[in-house]
Symmetry: D2
Subunit: 332 residues, 4 copies
């Protein structure tokens, strides 16, 4: 093949441009420098660009949260995103709310590495932890006592409820109103008028204590009432964007609402989507499904700006938030 | 180090024994031959041994199902497990029930590879699929028309409901009663008196159509009512065992019930657990959490027989079921 | 969309057909039953079909071996594949050869789970293992003494070498000739005239001991001499097929030879390829690269029959070998 | 359990402290803020702390490079690490050297996404790419013409070689001396006196062209000659540290040298180790093996400071380098 054919085949393509690291680089500068890179680096840069566009355009931003992000130390960032309306709607697993409430009540999560060190054992032993009343979440531990504290708090909240029937979102609002910690995600959500949805709430300690309370008190929480509110948020939005941390039920619940909602409007699917996950598509699970696959369903629009970033969310989220905040604040 | 010290250090350890492949090997013979192996091979053999013990002892067997196992072709096996009481309780994602109903209604899932071939395109293009009304699940496709069929069916079921309030399990039983396909998981569950739980049902097409029906009809499905029934199953069980396919909400919902239930009884956690997953623990998600971690919580008993098998469930499940069936039938 | 359009869109597609488990199922029957399935199950069936075709047609079969398959218990199967010419050429990491030799010398690998049990500790502690002279490979352990035994053996082999310069393949043949264990992969390779290549041999204990020997003795092993022999095997082959277990250097070394070899012949790339790996493509590594990507390079022919099976090779390999053996023996 | 027991069980443990994102955050500030976090975030912070300590103490720093980091855009960072002696020794796969040379010759890698766009096709089709002479590496492409250019260059280098026998390291130095691009990793290595080892060089285009040259010219490259030089570097080092990007042969080659070298000295294993990988340990491969496992072998010292960061290296590397550079420069 001649030289000309060679150049012609590559016509219009963008070269990979390497990143160079300067001195005292800001996170934004680093991420901007990754724009010419491929693999995860290029996807990270693209995620920030898409998020920036979501923030500059009039976009309703849905945040899906799965994985134990609060125990890992992401609570402040998530609370900040809600407080400053970097996101407008939260769909989460129950566990992250449980962990958020526990910290709001003054309890803590601890590094598990210290357990071994503090007790002169070489590695963490789960049966030994059980004997100590310590529960493990990967490299984090929390004490049973924290859950006893949670139980007392939730019972207090449930006893104050004055209506007979609640949607899950309404129940979470009632809980948030009873938290005084301004760094709580649930409290920030109440203060900032950001609805929090948790379709699988039964699958959490909040669910457990709701059920225990129902044994003697009266409380009906409808499994489907939230759907109207979430779908309406899609219907009313000018543009819609999703930031999916970790897959699971929150991912699908946002996507299925995006799918069903716009039909009445002539629009189809999300306009923006950022997916941060460590799950790959090869086993066919929804958590690992590509955003391309979501286009076949109409969950994401055919012309949407979308990127999947294969990365631990505890690494990617702080970087993305730091970078996009710098861009937004620079502009203001 | 002398030879003696060498032998002493290894005293009591089991040698890895390689597997050899004979002629016309039955699945059970193959799996038994893997007992001396390590890595995934040894874990597969251990999973079958644990399952066999669960079936030989008087054990209430909980099956957790996440991931699109029905579209992948695992529907018959799952139905068979339910029909023949190889499992006693099912906790599932909504999607697998949707796919089960669709097939019960005569609709089909198709291999996506054929789409490209049949249309003379070289690879699957999701935007093109969208134009054709075809929805993709990894390497499987299904047509929108199947969901229209589902909608008609569910509306018919909902219109027959004669009570005002249902638990999710009761709603699923009502759906199952209306399916005539004896290969349906939901139908088999009704016939075999196996309760099916789906805590995140809102996050599925069944949830969507329930919500649509509620716009005009009357239907209250309580998010927490199921918990009592599930926890009671743990309380009443002599021994308990879990088979977890793929993590997600079903895994945690079974584990949290195991955690909370036995307190009244002095027992703690599951006696047996088999986890089949492609998710590893490194990102701290519950789906990937080890069964050791579950012991720290008391979800699994300190002396439980437990194994995690890192494998696509569509590969592991048929092998495990074939092997354990041969053992049980040989015994009878 | 009308019913007709619906059917038209699906015309020519294959339905997913669920697998059903019979009584006393042979491995071959099980795998055949997975042919109608998708995800990993369908890929497993396809892998067996492709391997069967490779065995029925006149095909030179290249086996790539990475990952600690011998310690995991796969040594007998690998030896069997070589002995019975189910493969014609082996390209491997050095570690598997080291483990093979160790076992041939009468040393063993042991299950690490037993270490904790035998020493009344609850979990395996690597610093403690170090104190005992025990080395860990995931859930397998081996004693330092085995490597001392290896060193003695290799020194004996090197001292007998009568030429000044060897290719890596020739050195491995010399080692295999000195092993009397008929279950050794290296010994079987000598007996069956199956060449064994190990391009990264320096990265293994064989490399270490070769280097130690060279300090005092004379031994030149050329890094590139093997390439001619391997490329010639491609050039002379009527058809070529690769079975890749686990990626790494063996995968690329086979693929690059396939790429370079056929240019003189007008053929391009492998005719058959089966890749069994747990590595997915998302981080851009060669180990995880898809076989489609390999087609862009011409490493695999555009019309090759190829499948990637995402699975622990210690699970997939015994199943595939058992199934394909049954088919071949049934035919004979 | 009483309150006191609760507090006692947690005594000495470190709380997880959430990260907060300020305005115009430098990468170093962000990473320092992650120190109190768990999961990947905490590990990222720990990796930077360990690297900083390696740079502050008199440590010989070994860099292992696997995965197509150069095509992804990491070439400048790698070159910078070598040029400024942030690393002292490089062990790499051949592919990264091939990609480095290609770019040094003025050829480029391109984003594959643009291929589809530029040719009005919707997704990348590998057979179509083959027809265009374009080779794909995940989401990067490179033209066959670049490899023709590489061939001409290498032949020129080989023709100048004036000795009969070379170690692989010496051959790479000769290549580096012929590159004029000061951003080339190989050129920087020559200029900064950083040895580059590539034990599996046969498994690369450099290997291919070496073999082609040997058909007519005279060139002996010994497979084991490098080992002495690498092991001597360990023996002479005051302290040793490894930064492992992606596993593979480079990881093991560094580790085995660390294992064998210090025996004469009474020291054992590496003093520092940072492993950045997307491979987890569950399939027993060396690439995914934990650093704890390496301690059982003595590859890493029992008291070494070590961390594994599960992350795409193209994301982690720029962050770590930017953060550690800021710390070092601030100190100077």
């Amino acid at each position: 093949m001649g030289k000309d054919a060679h150049l012609k085949a590559l016509e219009g393509l963008k070269e990979v441009k390497g990143v160079e690291i300067g001195t005292h680089t800001s996170v934004e500068e680093l991420v901007a420098g990754l724009r010419g890179c491929a693999f995860g680096a290029g996807r990270l840069a693209k995620a920030v660009d898409i998020y920036e566009e979501m923030l500059n355009e009039e976009t309703t931003k849905f945040l899906g949260v799965a994985g134990a992000l609060v125990p890992a130390g992401m609570r402040s960032i998530l609370a900040e995103l809600v407080r400053e309306r970097y996101v407008d709607v939260v769909v989460t697993t129950g566990a992250n709310l449980v962990h958020d409430i526990i910290e709001a009540l003054g309890e803590h999560h601890y590094m598990s590495g210290g357990v071994a060190a503090a007790n002169a054992v070489r590695s963490v032993d789960d049966s030994w932890l059980r004997d100590q009343g310590i529960d493990r979440i990967y490299d984090v531990v929390v004490h049973d006592e924290a859950f006893a504290h949670l139980e007392d708090f939730l019972r207090g909240v449930f006893e104050q409820l004055d209506r007979k029937r609640y949607s899950i979102r309404e129940l979470l609002t009632a809980i948030g109103e009873n938290l005084s910690d301004r760094n709580s995600i649930l409290r920030c959500a109440v203060d900032s008028d950001v609805p929090v949805f948790c379709p699988a709430i039964a699958d959490s300690m909040i669910g457990l204590h709701s059920w225990i309370y129902k044994q003697t008190g009266s409380l009906v929480v409808d499994a489907f009432d939230d759907m109207k509110e979430l779908i309406d948020l899609f219907c009313e939005a000018k543009r819609t964007g999703a930031i999916i941390l970790g897959g699971g039920v929150p991912k699908n619940f946002i996507f299925q609402s995006a799918l069903i909602a716009p039909r009445a409007e002539g629009k189809e699917g999300l306009d923006f989507a950022i997916q941060i996950t460590t799950k790959t598509p090869e086993d066919g699970s929804l958590s690992g499904a590509t955003l391309e696959e979501a286009k076949s369903w109409g969950k994401i629009g055919g012309k949407a700006k979308a990127v999947t970033l294969y990365c631990d969310a505890t690494i990617a989220l702080p970087i993305i938030v730091a970078a996009v905040r710098e861009r937004i604040e620079r502009k203001n």
